[in-house]
Symmetry: C2
């Protein structure tokens, strides 16, 4: 008799996540797929429910980042077949609505997010149900089979641990950092400022570099994070905050940066971000806003733009980022500074919470 239960991380309340046995999910509609999770991880945004009440529902599965192998597909699933290696982006997206068609599937009108409370849809688990699979999944096996990516492994069986870590970031943090850079309209020769030295901010630095920024100022006061920022392309590190940070960026840039990436979402960070762009600069924001005020007048006279939101990571993976990772051109997986088993997920949360690790990788199974 085959296995019918799996290990799954369940949220119970502040500083209380537990790994429990739950039923392995099945497709519920012809559009669903199920995957066996190979790698998952803990996100900075998972720390919001971990630190405070009233964000997630107690007793529901958590986690929204995963890669894995398809084990079951509903009758209408065409995006992937059983055995394919896939990335599961954090947004569930129908692929058919105006948002999806415009490339903003992360604001899908019929979708949602993994780890949003539905049974079987938490990524920090051994198996995962993927609703709206055709609009949600990124098929890595298919990309490899096309055979046109220089330097790519022959098949998913040949993926190194490093490659798996790089691929996992495409389910959220690398795509989210890229969304910050795209939203901020970074282009060749630009000076970009990046707020946030967590995994997303660091991926923002890497993305600004990919989009051609010639100078990248990373706001960081942690040497281990600043080191990765430098490796990803940061040319300057600014540890100051608030008005001191504004003064320092003005000293470095003259009249402010051409583009500003806001990868925190706190009121202080956003307030500072609004002041360091030159006239006409756009703030690309991807940090969930917490108490943020957007001033209508001060931004108006300086022609400061604000764009961004939940990142359409599937669009970016398919457009560019999957090729960059498979060819070995970028290594966003460097943001993972420690590895855990599925049973150790509660410890991974505690280590993230205490800032002992930048981002916690969880090895769930092998390819």
């Amino acid at each position: 008799m085959s296995k019918t239960t799996m290990k799954s991380t369940i949220y119970y309340g502040p500083r209380d996540v537990r790994v429990e046995e739950r039923p392995i999910p099945e497709p519920q509609t012809p559009e669903d797929a199920v995957i066996r999770v190979v790698r998952t991880c803990v996100c900075g945004s998972d720390l919001w429910p971990y630190r405070s009440k009233d964000v997630n529902t107690p007793g529901t599965p958590i986690g929204h980042e995963s890669i894995g192998v398809v084990t079951q597909v509903g009758a209408d699933v065409t995006v992937a077949a059983v055995g394919d290696f896939v990335i599961v982006p954090f947004p569930i997206s129908c692929g058919e609505c105006a948002a999806c068609k415009a490339g903003f599937e992360s604001s899908c009108l019929n979708g949602g997010y993994f780890g949003g409370g539905a049974e079987g849809e938490g990524c920090q688990s051994e198996y995962l149900r993927v609703p709206h699979a055709n609009g949600t999944i990124v098929n890595v096996s298919q990309a490899l089979a096309a055979g046109d990516i220089p330097g790519a492994p022959a098949s998913s069986k040949a993926f190194s641990d490093e490659m798996l870590a790089d691929l996992l970031t495409l389910s959220d943090v690398m795509g989210t950092g890229y969304h910050a850079a795209v939203s901020a309209e970074v282009t060749s020769g630009y000076t970009a400022v990046v707020f946030g030295d967590g995994a997303v901010g660091l991926c923002g630095v890497l993305s600004a570099k990919l989009l051609g920024a010639s100078r990248i100022i990373a706001m960081s006061r942690h040497e281990n994070r600043a080191a990765i920022a430098r490796e990803f392309g940061a040319t300057d590190i600014v540890p100051e905050r608030g008005d001191d940070a504004v003064a320092r960026v003005m000293e470095l840039t003259g009249a402010g940066a051409d583009a500003v990436l806001e990868c925190v979402g706190s009121a202080q960070s956003f307030d500072t971000a609004l002041k360091v762009g030159r006239p006409g600069a756009v703030i690309g924001r991807v940090g969930l806003p917490h108490g943020v005020q957007l001033p209508a007048e001060a931004t108006f006279y300086r022609n400061i733009g604000i764009k961004g939101g939940p990142a359409p990571v599937r669009t970016y993976a398919r457009q560019r980022l999957l090729r960059e990772v498979l060819s070995g051109n970028i290594h966003p997986g460097r943001v993972f500074t420690n590895t855990y088993t599925i049973d150790e997920v509660p410890q991974a949360y505690a280590d993230m919470d205490a800032r002992r690790v930048i981002k916690a990788l969880v090895t769930v199974s092998e390819v």
Copy 2:
């Protein structure tokens, strides 16, 4: 002895503008030019001080839109020579700072705006001093002399009244409507919604059309304005406001417009504008914000962007709009629905205030 005084419109307070004799301005620095004004006009934004106190300083000249002929230049002025026909955009811009170099000269770090209170720098006058002439003026004579604009008049002496009206809009309203459309990222095949049926909103419709929008929904409840909107390219007219307007746009578009042009600046208009874009839409805003709230969270989850501010009309004139006007391809001057002499400027304000005219043209002198 040559004339030493001129007629100039002076602001005294709510509903009190007077045409008085003032000294003809002279260059004050080697970078200044003086022009004899040929056409000027009254702007919707002039109605703010006309209607309320504490906006402009009583006793100072008003008006920020003009075209005319250069009569004096300081030693460092290279952009135009005495006798050249020029457009004077509403922003004074140095041409050298980071804002100007980035094409946002309307947020110049060393500039300001005409009609901002300095003696000799109000456009509703017979003569006008232009500070920072090299960074501010658009030289129409030079564009004509290049001889590469199909259908353009041979020289400024051949300009019709219609052409003069069209050119005058490039000093503000047409460039401002264009800024709304560019900021909203209108592109080929888009559905655009335009808030505001004043001169700027109408020019926003025309600009959305220029940028390739295939469907343009104009929010208008005035038949005379809706008629011009249709002439400029509007495909649908929506007279509703507030939630009814949102419902109507959703009915027309399914899930919201691809681009939203906000050409009013009031709290109600902006609030509605934020609700009618599809996920990922950008609000291009050019209306001076009055009591506007920008919600940080609601815009985040829908990936709604906000861009815009005072329009870099010089950049747009030089990039594209001057050619469009000189070739007769567009007629933004249609927004002028009545003409006045300089002595009649107080009546022009009263007529604008009472909405008896859309935009008031003032004939100051002949070319």
